[in-house]
């Protein structure tokens, strides 16, 4: 790996926004997008995820590193770099819930690993999930909720999405555990950002 890519990766892991911004214009002059992703962005994502998993950093550090990844991807590709692997994910927080920090972390994780992400935001009606899933035919729909008050809507959404689009559905959020995920009919459940990608691989392979 070049010194430039190594430094870029390190600055993401160390959450140094100023350095990341300074390096961004230099990267495309010396490396292809593919090299930048494979040699810097993905390894940075792996390291950040491992640090979080090992409890060496907290949610703020995870958020900031992911924000720098998001900023880098947008800067490098003017927003067109997502979809570097061929998977497409639709994400949203279910109707009745406005807590979107977890969903935003999931968005950044997927984006950092090259998924194409369609983010429907928070408080998303069931009909909107279904409409977009039907028209965009994603590989996966991810639905988040923090609350118990939205579980019935979650169940409705999962049934309708599967019926109308055939997409797999994963769920997550503070109130969800694997038992509730099973009861609402989800194909998978991720308990944290640390396990998201492995769970996704498992669901899509199934």
């Amino acid at each position: 790996m070049s010194d430039l890519l190594e430094q870029f990766k390190r600055m993401i892991v160390e959450k140094n926004r100023a350095e990341v911004c300074a390096l961004l214009p230099e990267l495309p002059k010396n490396h292809s997008l593919d090299e930048i992703y494979r040699q810097a962005v993905y390894p940075a994502m792996n390291e950040v995820r491992d640090l979080f998993k090992a409890r060496k950093v907290g949610v703020p550090e995870l958020l900031l590193s992911l924000d720098l990844v998001r900023q880098s991807i947008d800067g490098l590709s003017q927003g067109s770099a997502s979809g570097r692997n061929d998977r497409h994910v639709i994400l949203g927080v279910i109707e009745g819930d406005v807590h979107d920090m977890g969903k935003n972390i999931v968005h950044a994780m997927y984006q950092g690993y090259g998924y194409r992400v369609t983010d429907l935001g928070k408080n998303t009606p069931v009909a909107r999930f279904v409409e977009v899933a039907r028209s965009e035919k994603p590989d996966l729909v991810g639905i988040s909720t923090m609350m118990s008050t939205t579980v019935d809507k979650l169940k409705d959404a999962i049934a309708a999405i599967k019926r109308e689009s055939g997409a797999k559905v994963m769920v997550g959020g503070a109130f969800i555990n694997r038992e509730i995920a099973n009861r609402v009919g989800a194909d998978g459940y991720a308990d944290s950002a640390a396990t998201l990608i492995e769970e996704t691989d498992s669901v899509l392979a199934g």
Binding site: K15, R17, R55, V57, G58, V59, P60, E61, L63, L64, D67, G96, D97, V98, D100, M101, N104, M147, S148, T149, T150, V151, A174, F175, I176, N177, E179, I180, R183, S192
Partner: protein, 360 residues
């Protein structure tokens, strides 16, 4: 059946002395509004409605402790944060319109008098009403959301967490202002006659900031709340429903008499270790999963309660409670199941042991 009053049972439990049964705190808050058909907005804003609903829910469930609480937006609302009051769920800030839009806004927060605030004032009225009605027989606990949590309601947790790293001094300015108001809020709750105050520091867990960051950004501020509660001579409880809560750091800064929790504490390998390490000085309160209360049958809840009483109830100093607020849109049946499990613990325990013996 019960031989002690709730007050006697709870006080003996806190002292680590023998009781007739494990006390229960159902944390049936928002769900209580179903008792009178009250709406979520009325429950959050009308002290008469909230107090009446909580009283009836307690009579229905039969639990021992009142946690006087409506929702987490109370403090932020009186700083000027716009709050949304949905009809089908709990009140929350309008996150599209945060009061703290930029890091420089932390220092612009205005100190307010809690008793004059629309929401904190109404909340204090709920405390008064509950204390007047039941305060002699049952402990009524007040509640205060921790300083970092209150800032999160006015900034959005995601931005607040990044500000902690990128604009730490600005965040601390806000924490100083918020803490001053919360200290007065705690004193006002004491003046209403509550038996104790529960301090909620959600970020003190792996769902929040790292342990050292919690000490720097909330622990030292929460300690001021603890001092005010301690000076009042009332009980200090702590609630933290995050993943892997930081008991060690929480103990260092606020040393609560009660730990209400949802998960095994950071650094503990087992619940035995948790009990040995923290459950001798303090009373443990937990940790029936809210997910189970939502989807489980009453007998599944009873089984889990019996398991937890066996796990944490030995030697007293244990209060059976949900891991967090009882799910507000489900029935109260499983709250009642928790009390039933405590009341008939010996009988259920023997039956379940017999079931296991037969299965083996």
């Amino acid at each position: 059946m019960d031989q002690l009053t709730s007050m006697e049972r709870v006080l003996l439990t806190l002292k680590g002395e023998e009781t007739d049964r494990i006390p229960v705190c159902s944390l049936a808050i928002g769900v209580a509004r179903q008792m009178t058909g009250a709406s979520f907005p009325a429950f959050s804003t009308d002290s008469e409605v909230a107090a009446e609903a909580m009283l009836y829910a307690n009579r229905m469930v039969g639990d021992d402790i009142f946690l006087c609480f409506t929702d987490l937006s109370v403090e932020a609302a009186d700083f000027g944060q716009e709050i949304v009051y949905p009809t089908n769920t709990t009140a929350h800030p309008n996150y599209e319109n945060p009061l703290i839009k930029e890091p420089s806004d932390y220092g612009r927060l205005q100190r307010v008098a809690p008793s004059s605030g629309k929401r904190m004032g109404a909340y204090l009225d709920v405390c008064s009403k509950l204390v007047q009605k039941v305060g002699q027989e049952q402990p009524v606990l007040g509640f205060v959301y921790g300083p970092l949590g209150v800032l999160g309601m006015m900034r959005g947790m995601e931005k607040l967490y990044m500000d902690v790293l990128e604009h730490p001094d600005a965040v601390k300015e806000g924490l100083e202002i918020v803490t001053d108001v919360l200290v007065q809020f705690v004193k006002d709750q004491y003046s209403r006659g509550v038996a104790g105050v529960c301090v909620d520091t959600l970020p003190a867990s792996r769902s929040g900031v790292a342990p050292d960051a919690w000490e720097e950004f909330e622990g030292i501020y929460a300690a001021k709340l603890a001092s005010a509660i301690g000076e009042s001579g009332i009980l200090l409880a702590h609630h933290g429903c995050g993943y892997s809560p930081y008991f060690k750091e929480v103990k260092k800064h606020i040393n609560p008499a009660v730990f209400s929790f949802a998960d095994l504490a950071e650094g503990c390998a087992s619940f035995d270790e948790l009990k040995q390490t923290y459950g001798r000085d303090a009373t443990l309160m937990g940790y029936v999963p809210t997910e189970l209360l939502y989807v489980g049958t009453p007998m599944e809840v009873v089984r889990e309660c019996v398991r937890q009483i066996n796990l944490l109830g030995k030697g007293g100093k244990f209060i059976l409670a949900p891991s967090c607020e009882y799910p507000p849109n489900t029935s109260l049946q499983n709250a009642r199941a928790m009390v039933t499990a405590a009341q008939f613990f010996d009988r259920f325990n023997a039956e379940f042991a017999e079931d296991e013996r037969k299965a083996a």
